[in-house]
């Protein structure tokens, strides 16, 4: 039943929203003096998950949500005090609920042991009288044959039809006021079997004495061929607002099966009178919006669009920008650039193209909120694992970045948060001794800074233990013993692959479990990671990212008569070398002495086969650093611009070219290749390795 699949998917989308409301609400509840409405919202979120889950027969989810909700209800009604322990449990339940929704969506079995453990923790808070719901409720869901199948047998047991039943009914005023109607009840009885109806007016007071509180009309109904249970079920809604007896009819009283289909209901004055009776009419608040059938008007309207459509749009806008630049050049060559009309028109187009590009990028942009929220959970788990009390402060979670970036940020940030808890923060005993608050604080912040996104993870821990880091690096042979390193350079060691890949390191007070991985992932996104650390005060990791992956900040370089683009993220510095900085080694290998380090010089023009190796004094050297921290100096003929370029996939349009990651189109319509510095540096060191091996075998 595709309809049901659609509803099911709808439910899971709704769950995502509800779980977000839940997680947000729980965090708000940790602040003192929180709004009571927050608790109601938290309760409703869990309640709605339960309601939907029940509709789809997700029993585990229903059971868990119900128990969680019962505890929240205790909090809501002030029968349970909000303590840090309760909040911790609530957070864990919220995580568990999220997992249950995820496994229900994926149709896999959830981790029962974890659910059971939490259920018993919840149970410990619930006294029997707090929880009357599930006793009736749970069997109901168990009855529910299949998740999508409502084809159940009628709920009434098939008792043998009674020979005849007599029903005496005297409705109280509540029956009329609750929108029930004796006529409807009699009609319902008539569906069960032939009925004979007698209206008794004896109980009705004289008009002068009559009160709507005591309508007084009574009915005596006999019915044949219906079971007691079926008849009782008709009166299900009214049994406690009318005087009702259902008894076996005396034999002589049984009605003949009559042809009269439906007894003309008594013209029922009590109904009319009773309805007008309740005191002064209260007009509902006028601020109610009159949007009757509008679906969920509370949020701004959104649509869901496949990402590739937006990508296509982005691509076309890239073309537009390029065409605009071409046009501009043509106008220049044609000598039209002094015509005010032409210049004004061109400016307007340029402005528009820029605005459109920005708008499309904003379509792809999403707030970092989703990632940040997930980090709360990561932090709780890390805090549980290490036994350190920690709180996470998030700043700027509305900061937007490209959607593809969001997904790829989760792993590195997870890593960093764990790392900060595990290695950044001291244990609570140490903190106490140092006079710091026992609870550590990790701050996760994001902001837009000059066209880039800056994300920071900082802790208020002990800072990097530099002697220890240095020791580890020496022990692992990553640096020469006694090497002269500045504090910042020592901090950088944490990012070295191989600095720590063993579990034993994570138990030490040093830092750096898998930070090389973080660094690699961030660099793959065109970003950079930096560390700042002050002893005893804490450590801050900063990530700087481009706003989108579709545009790249590049340096336009000249190689012979070709223009190529070097990603700016790889560039460390550019320089015109002095003779004393250059050294020749072996056959054709040249080295640059830079800041106490010898780095190989690669002639890019020669590498791409564009020209013969050029003289070093005629060109410019660009020092690059690759993801794996290998450094090299690229010799180029010149640098003439730094600008954003629209990335075009070369592999899709042409094929793979070694040393080239993608292409772009320049203002003059020419294609420029985007260099992959990583690959070039790597292939160089392989070449050198081979050359050395060859020399060794020859010699």
């Amino acid at each position: 039943m595709s309809d049901m699949d659609e509803f099911r998917e709808m439910f899971f989308v709704e769950c995502d929203e509800l779980l977000e409301v839940l997680a947000n609400g729980l965090r708000q509840m940790e602040a003192p003096g929180f709004d009571k409405e927050t608790v109601h919202a938290v309760f409703r979120a869990v309640h709605s998950v339960k309601g939907g889950a029940a509709a789809f027969g997700l029993t585990t989810l229903v059971t868990f949500a119900h128990r969680f909700e019962t505890v929240l209800d205790l909090v809501r009604s002030d029968r349970l005090e909000v303590t840090p322990q309760i909040m911790a449990l609530a957070h864990r339940c919220s995580d568990c609920l999220t997992d249950l929704v995820t496994s229900a969506r994926a149709q896999v079995d959830p981790d029962e042991s974890r659910v059971d453990a939490l259920l018993s923790e919840l149970d410990a808070l619930i006294t029997p009288e707090d929880d009357e719901g599930p006793i009736e409720f749970v069997p109901l869901t168990l009855d529910f044959g299949g998740p999508l199948d409502f084809d159940l047998p009628p709920p009434m047991p098939a008792a043998p039809p009674a020979p005849g039943l007599e029903i005496a009914m005297t409705p109280g005023h509540q029956l009329y006021r609750s929108g029930n109607d004796p006529q409807a009840l009699i009609a319902a009885l008539h569906k069960l079997g032939p009925v004979a109806v007698a209206l008794e007016t004896a109980g009705v007071a004289a008009l002068a004495d009559w009160s709507p509180e005591e309508p007084g009309l009574a009915w005596r109904i006999t019915i044949t061929g219906a079971s007691y249970d079926d008849v009782a079920a008709v009166f299900e809604f009214v049994e406690d607002c009318c005087a009702l007896t259902i008894s076996e009819a005396p034999v002589e009283d049984r009605p003949e099966p009559c042809d009269d289909p439906l007894p003309e209901p008594a013209p029922a004055p009590p109904v009319a009178v009773a309805v007008e009776a309740p005191g002064p009419t209260v007009v509902p608040p006028a601020n109610a919006p009159a949007n009757a059938s509008a679906e969920a008007p509370q949020s701004a309207a959104t649509i869901r669009v496949a990402l590739d459509r937006v990508d296509r749009l982005m691509n076309m806008i890239g073309e537009l920008v390029i065409k605009e630049a071409m046009l501009s050049q043509v106008i220049q060559t044609a000598g039209l650039h002094e015509q005010p009309d032409v210049v004004a028109g061109l400016d307007a187009i340029r402005q528009l193209a820029g605005d459109i590009q920005e708008s499309v990028m904003s379509i792809r942009a999403q707030p970092l909120k989703l990632v940040f929220q997930r980090m709360h959970r990561i932090l709780r788990e890390a805090a549980d694992a290490t036994g350190k009390p920690v709180r996470l402060v998030t700043i700027g979670e509305q900061t937007e970045v490209d959607k593809t970036m969001i997904e790829r940020l989760i792993d590195p940030l997870t890593h960093m948060i764990r790392n900060s808890v595990d290695h950044g923060l001291e244990d609570s005993v140490t903190r106490q001794r140092l006079g710091k608050p026992v609870e550590g604080t990790i701050t996760l912040s994001a902001a837009h800074r000059s066209g880039r996104v800056q994300i920071e993870v900082s802790d208020d821990g002990g800072g990097i233990n530099r002697p220890r880091v240095r020791q580890i690096a020496e022990d692992r042979g990553l640096i020469a013993p006694g090497a002269n390193l500045s504090p910042a350079e020592i901090d950088q060691l944490l990012f070295l692959p191989g600095f720590s890949s063993k579990d034993e390191v994570s138990a030490l007070s040093g830092r750096g479990v898998g930070l090389d991985v973080v660094r690699r992932e961030i660099m793959a996104l065109g970003g950079r990671v930096m560390i700042q650390s002050t002893e005893g005060v804490g450590t801050t990791f900063s990530i700087a990212l481009p706003l989108t992956l579709a545009v790249l900040e590049g340096m336009l370089i000249q190689l012979g008569d070709q223009t190529m683009v070097l990603p700016i993220t790889a560039v460390q510095e550019t320089l015109r070398p002095e003779d004393r900085m250059l050294h020749g080694v072996g056959h054709g290998t040249r080295l640059l002495s830079n800041r106490g380090e010898l780095i190989p010089i690669i002639d890019l023009g020669a590498t791409f086969g564009l020209e013969a190796p050029g003289a070093l004094d005629s060109g410019v050297l660009i020092v690059v650093e690759t993801d794996s921290r290998k450094r090299a100096a690229f010799r180029v003929d010149g640098i003439f611009d730094q600008r954003q370029v629209v990335i075009k996939s070369l592999e899709q349009n042409y094929g793979r070219v070694p040393g080239v990651s993608a292409a772009t189109i320049l203002g003059d319509g020419k294609i420029a290749l985007i260099i992959d510095p990583e690959e070039i540096v790597l292939s160089l060191s392989n070449d050198q390795g081979r050359r050395l091996a060859a020399m060794a075998s020859n010699g």
Binding site: M10, E14, G51, Q174, Q183, A184, A187, A290, A292, S293
Partner: protein, 122 residues
């Protein structure tokens, strides 16, 4: 003339399920997202019957029932409470607020329709 039903629930999923069940049974369906929205929708929906959830933001189901019962025009419209709770306590509260009856979630389409027909006397 088709029967007009106003369904009030803050969950889009439940609204979709209820409205599908009701439309399949030939009812004309109007939807509202909470009590305030429901009260506001009364005059346009001009309902023969109202179905409402209990736990909702801004105005809950009890508030909605009380408001509807207090209006001249819809004071006697049957109101069914659609809820996951089934405690006796809740039924008493629903009744004293003026609910006509209740249906426990998860509902079966047939049972929902049967209850509606019962309170409408059809």
């Amino acid at each position: 003339m088709t029967t007009r039903i106003l369904a009030v629930d803050d969950s889009p999923t439940i609204r979709a399920l209820v409205s599908k069940a009701l439309r399949n049974a030939g009812f004309e369906v109007f939807l509202a997202v909470d009590g305030v929205d429901g009260v506001g929708a009364l005059s346009e929906a001009d309902p023969d019957l109202i179905i409402t959830d209990i736990n909702m933001p801004r105005m809950d189901g009890f508030g909605l029932i009380e408001n509807v019962r207090a209006t001249g025009a819809y004071a006697d419209v049957p109101i069914l409470v659609l809820t996951t709770e089934s405690g006796a306590d809740l039924k008493a509260r629903a009744r004293s607020a003026g609910a006509t009856g209740w249906i426990v979630k998860p509902f079966e389409d047939e049972r929902l329709i049967a209850v509606i027909e019962k309170v409408l006397g059809r």
